[in-house]
Assembly symmetry: C2
Homo-oligomer: 197 residues x 2
């Protein structure tokens, strides 16, 4: 047996460890609920080390959103996603949201930042708008093809339905945080019931 080595999972450097931890805290507790001190203590470095990699908290926040945007584009264009039939693409999207539940009931990026949106630095706002726009456009396309091929069923425009479905998923993760996983499963079940032809 040959040792698997592509892609090699290198031990993440400090820069990445900061980003991972900050992203986790953002999605679990909100952007204003963690500080450079928290990050530093958890990572076993001094706060100034965080400033070395991300001079300001604005830079750190923007880096988090920018990375999520890169991930979205990469995921969307992956053959194992792009080549699926619309129904399977929709299920793949639901699986992503379902994953959040298993990770400390994280909300999605959009749901984590929307309420505090006006307190965010402008570059972060811009990245988040792009993130939401591209995801909505992708889903609209999936829905359009799905309806055209008779595997997905809905009334109205694909764009409107996409906006509605994504908004519902964002909210469903928030409800899961406030109560428990049950309402999330109920809401996703309702979405499937309505959409799958």
């Amino acid at each position: 047996m040959i040792t698997q080595s592509l892609p090699t999972a290198l031990p993440p450097d400090t820069r990445t460890r900061i980003l991972d931890l900050a992203e986790g805290l953002l999605l679990e507790r909100g952007f204003n609920a963690f500080s450079y001190q928290h990050l530093a203590k958890e990572l076993g470095v001094k706060p100034a080390a965080i400033h070395y990699h991300y001079p300001s908290k604005d830079d750190l926040g923007t880096a988090i959103v920018a990375r999520q945007l890169r991930r979205l584009r990469k995921w969307r264009d992956l053959p194992r996603v792009a080549d699926l039939l619309p129904v399977a693409q929709f299920e793949a999207l639901l699986a992503v949201y379902d994953t959040h539940l298993g990770h400390e009931r994280r909300v999605c990026l959009f749901g984590a930042l929307a309420a505090d949106f006006r307190t965010l630095p402008a570059p972060m706002q811009a990245e988040l708008r792009t993130f939401n726009r591209e995801l909505t456009e992708w889903l609209a396309q999936v829905l359009a093809v799905g309806r055209a091929t008779g595997t997905l069923r809905f009334v109205g425009s694909p764009a409107a339905k996409a906006a509605q479905v994504l908004t519902t998923l964002t909210g469903a993760l928030q409800v899961a945080r406030v109560h428990d996983e049950t309402p999330f499963q109920v809401i996703v079940g309702q979405l499937r019931l309505e959409l799958l032809a």
Copy 2:
């Protein structure tokens, strides 16, 4: 013409002015984005005056949610709401969310607090859960009667549909904040299209 005097709109006392301002800031910028200093400066009093009325920020936050819960119950039981037909009750609910758009594009209480939920004091968490549960139960009843009388149309259980619709409305106000009012109108239009028989 007789001067209208019931209920008299007294100039609000400091206690109420604090609550009103804090609620506005909560819904416009998030719970962690305002301080006793902000409140005091805006109201022309000293921070200690706020502490006199609401000893801790936890107390203030809990008072905001508790008042919203009282308002919900009062609204729901108002004759001009309780006596409406289901379709009109649903439209009355949509009107409430629409009102938020006109007020600096405020999100709803639930949408403002869900992301930061774990950082909130326990009494605030409890009040918010009750708020969401009662609102969902109310809408489930409205939907059940609406479908039974043939004026509302949906598949699945009324409870599941109610959870889905409220979650969508919460998210729609958040999307409106991040982008503009357009996606909110699009999503609400989609809801009407699907639900109104």
